[in-house]
Amino acid sequence: MNTPIRRLSILIAALFTTLLVASTIVQFAQAKTLGAMASNKRSLLDSYARERGSIIVGGQAVAKSVPVQDQYRFLRTYPQNKLYAHLTGFYSYSVGAPYGLEHAADDLLSGDADQLFVRRVTDLITGRKTAGATVELTIDPKVQAAADQALGASKGAVVALDPKTGAILAMVSHPSYDPNPLASHDLTKAAKAWKTLSTDADKPYLNRAISGIYPPGSTFKVITAAAALEDGVVSDENSKVPGPAQLDLPLTTTNLPNEDGRACGPNNETTLIHALEISCNTTFGSLGLDLGGEKLRAQAAKFGFGDSLQIPMRVSTSSVPADLNAPQAAQAAIGQYDVRTTPLQMAMVAAGIGNKGSVMTPYLIQSVRSANLDIIQSAPDPVELSQAVSEQTASILTKMMVSVVDNGSGARARIAGVDVAGKTGTAQHDPGKPPHAWFISFAPAVDPKVAVAVVVEDGGVTGSEIGGGRVAAPIARAVMQAVLGR
């Protein structure tokens, strides 16, 4: 009987091998996947028990974990309440951390990031409690406060960039919300706060600056102008361009009219610079016809349209539709017909023109420090996203945009003693509603310190190009003043 006993002992060994392999799979190979599952209460309690890193703006914490005497050990608090809600997001026991840096930089804040591996190992050896890393933002608190105040009670978003680096100086989205009740350890209170927030028709949880998708309206004309200059359709700002009261669109019976129903210059003709000053629809529509959809699309792509960026939050992708026919291209050239963009993308357009045609990759995290303030990741070297236009085109565009502020629709963005370059926009989105008001700008025009995009939802006046200039331009001006200290 010994032979079958030996064979059976091999079976026993095989059974145990299976169990050993299964345990290894669960506790080693799949441990991370299992730990990351949303319904895993252990991971949630774990992350609560660990001191989560702070989010710092200008030396002050805008999100920090405060020790408390309950089973969760640390309470996440947001000292600035609504002001930074869209940047921080919230960290809630019942809801999780679906938004903002609490979501996008979770591995840093929780201490699980790969960069923190060495530290976790030393923590393990020395018995020190592992704590998350502190994340310092590029945000300038003065600019952020100015943007928040200037936007006021309006719905919309403001983004300010440093054109030379891509650092985000301010990012405001209205309406906002207070993340504190959501992070409450009183779970009923947190659940109630979440219900209120998630069912609000205005979607306050949405960071409109990066997740809001708007038609860019006339601000897109800057891109059309860039494409026309780059393509040689026009040679400089003084080139003669058509500017009739109505542009006859091929393939259709409809025409593309100017808002005021008048021609943009004598003999249905004008200069490029004047067309931009007064935001002449027919001029840019006709440039769109000359260029065609693909060239518009390619120019937009050079500014960042179609890219999926992470700052580290995911930025919604801006887009110009593909395969436009002639009338669609004419519409797209004035920022209508399914052209969609985020405020951040339009700020990148302004910044790229200001930075001699070079669009820098936007970023929000300035540095990452470990719990004992050692730098883990210092300020990133600015990364160029693309050279959107030549330096010469950029300088022509700058000249034209300065003229928009000095002589045209962007007058309310003027700052005494500083050349401001800007472009207004009024984007129709829903026939029954007032259009969105846009303004993009940078200042000073030479060697700019700041580029801004402002969108005010339903802030315009139907049939008028002055919406962007009247509503959005003063907001941009307040933000630029905050950066320039004037």
Binding site: M1, N2, T3, P4, I5, R6, L8, S9, L11, I12, A13, L15, F16, T18, L19, L20, A22, S23, T24, I25, V26, Q27, F28, Q30, A31, L34, G35, M37, S39, N40, K41, R42, S43, L45, D46, L124
Partner: protein
């Protein structure tokens, strides 16, 4: 193979056992102290009486072995001690998490059961001076197994806990008679097969290269199968049913050396499982939970398996440390899920260590079977060893998602008196058989040759150990 010429005088190895035992006790105490330090920051106040009592208890078994079974395997008792002790520590740890202290605690009851189990094991060792005596009770064992198995179905006595009708209640005590049925069945199978193995292994027709048994010899396997189907259907207990049937097929194979029995057995069991799957929603549900334990639908139904897996995963390689994890989040953390509970706090290293301890336990059983000089002893030893291994596979395979989860206890560790008593008896029986196997033969092994076809092999095994 060589035949030894010079007479061997194998050592008893009781000294090694004592050393291993002290080591085992040290591990358990360290685990206990760590738990309390991690939970409360203090060393348990009752450490002296409890640890002292535990030490006295296992050392008593050691002394009984020196007295009654000097040549018994020296590794089985230390392994049992570690496993039983770690089980106690984990149950105590879960008590602490749930605020069940002192005599309210599950650990307190489990400690009493441990004491009773040790007393029972010692009784077996003293009363049963030769395992071959059990062969006389082959058919008594069969009857006992049938009664034990069917008891939970008796109205008024049987109780259904967590959907399985495998319990009986006598006053305040709940008991799982199936645990003892396992031993009775092993004795019966061993006794029966040793008698009939010649018929079962020689007669038959050859089909496709395998010799298949004659129709009339199929009787016993059909009866065993029918019994298992009864357990499966009426007691709603797939795990136990699988365990009994696996045990029977394995022993049948060892007795007859015929692969055809395994094939027949597997086919029969597959048929039963297919039937159960189609006929009972209960089994279907388990398979669904097994295939995808993490879907919202599954979690709403039962988050037990998912929680066990999350627990093990959160332990990672090194574990959270005893007392520092959250095994209490898993339902039945102290019984069916005690392995994930330990895995969470001791990590993969701990899980592997525990599995290796069980593996060594079972392989010592196998070695005992190889060394036993009588067919009955061989069959009984391999049957008991295999039952422990297979039971572990069913329960730990269930919690680690190798197979669908079916409720079975983890030998020596799970909370529950019947399981502890039964497993300590299994250990006592293995010790008894191993003593016979390793004991030097009083004379030239003439008598053995009659019982076993390969005395040379036996001699070799004796020399190795």
């Amino acid at each position: 193979m060589t035949t030894t010429v010079e007479p061997l005088t194998p050592r008893t190895r009781r000294g090694s056992e004592l050393l291993l035992l002290l080591f085992a006790i040290a591990i358990v105490l360290l685990a206990w102290v760590t738990t309390d330090l991690n939970r409360n920051g203090t060393v348990p106040t009752n450490i002296v009486p409890v640890a002292g009592g535990f030490t006295v208890l296992v050392l008593a078994v050691h002394l009984v072995l020196r007295w009654k079974a000097a040549y018994a395997d020296p590794v089985l008792l230390p392994i049992t001690t570690v496993l039983n002790g770690l089980g106690l520590v984990m149950i105590h740890r879960l008590d602490l998490a749930r605020g069940k202290l002192g005599s309210d605690g599950d650990a307190y009851r489990q400690l009493i059961w441990t004491t009773l189990a040790v007393v029972l094991a010692v009784t077996v060792l003293i009363a049963l001076r030769d395992h071959r005596l059990l062969r006389r009770y082959t058919f008594v064992s069969m009857a006992a197994a049938f009664v034990l198995l069917l008891l939970p179905l008796v109205p008024g006595l049987g109780r259904s806990i967590n959907g399985s009708q495998i319990w009986i209640s006598i006053g305040p005590l709940n008991f799982q008679p199936g645990e003892f049925a396992k031993i009775a069945l092993a004795i019966f199978f061993a006794g029966y097969l040793v008698q009939t193995r010649d018929v079962l292994s020689l007669a038959g027709k050859k089909i496709l290269g395998f010799t298949f048994p004659r129709g009339r010899d199929l009787g016993p396997i059909v009866v065993a199968w029918a019994l298992c189907v009864v357990v499966l259907v009426f007691q709603n207990d797939l795990g136990t049913s699988l365990l009994y049937f696996g045990l029977f097929v394995a022993m049948l194979y060892v007795a007859t050396e015929r692969v055809s029995w395994i094939i027949i057995g597997l086919l029969l069991f597959a048929a039963a499982v297919v039937f159960a799957l189609t006929a009972f929603a209960h089994f279907h549900e388990r398979v669904d939970l097994w295939l995808d334990p993490f879907s919202q639908q599954s979690l709403d139904r039962s988050n037990q398996l998912a929680n066990g897996l999350w627990g093990m995963a959160s332990g990672g390689l090194t574990g959270t440390g005893l007392g520092a994890g959250r095994p209490y989040l898993t339902p039945f953390a102290e019984s069916d899920f005690i392995f994930p509970s330990l895995g969470e706090e001791l990590g993969l290293f701990g899980s592997v260590a525990i599995l290796v301890l069980y593996l060594v336990f079972c392989e010592r059983g196998v070695r005992t079977a190889l060394g036993a000089r009588d067919g009955f002893g061989k069959l009984l030893a391999i049957g008991l060893a295999f039952s422990v291994a297979f039971q572990l596979f069913i329960v730990i395979g269930g919690v680690t998602r190798v197979i669908p989860l079916t409720g079975l206890t983890t030998p020596f560790m799970s909370l529950g008196g019947s399981s502890l008593l039964a497993n300590w008896v299994i250990m006592a029986l293995l010790l008894r058989i191993s003593d016979q196997a390793r004991r030097p033969m009083p004379e030239i092994p003439v008598g053995v040759a009659a019982d076993d076809p390969s005395p040379a092999e036996v001699t070799q095994v004796v020399r190795l150990s």
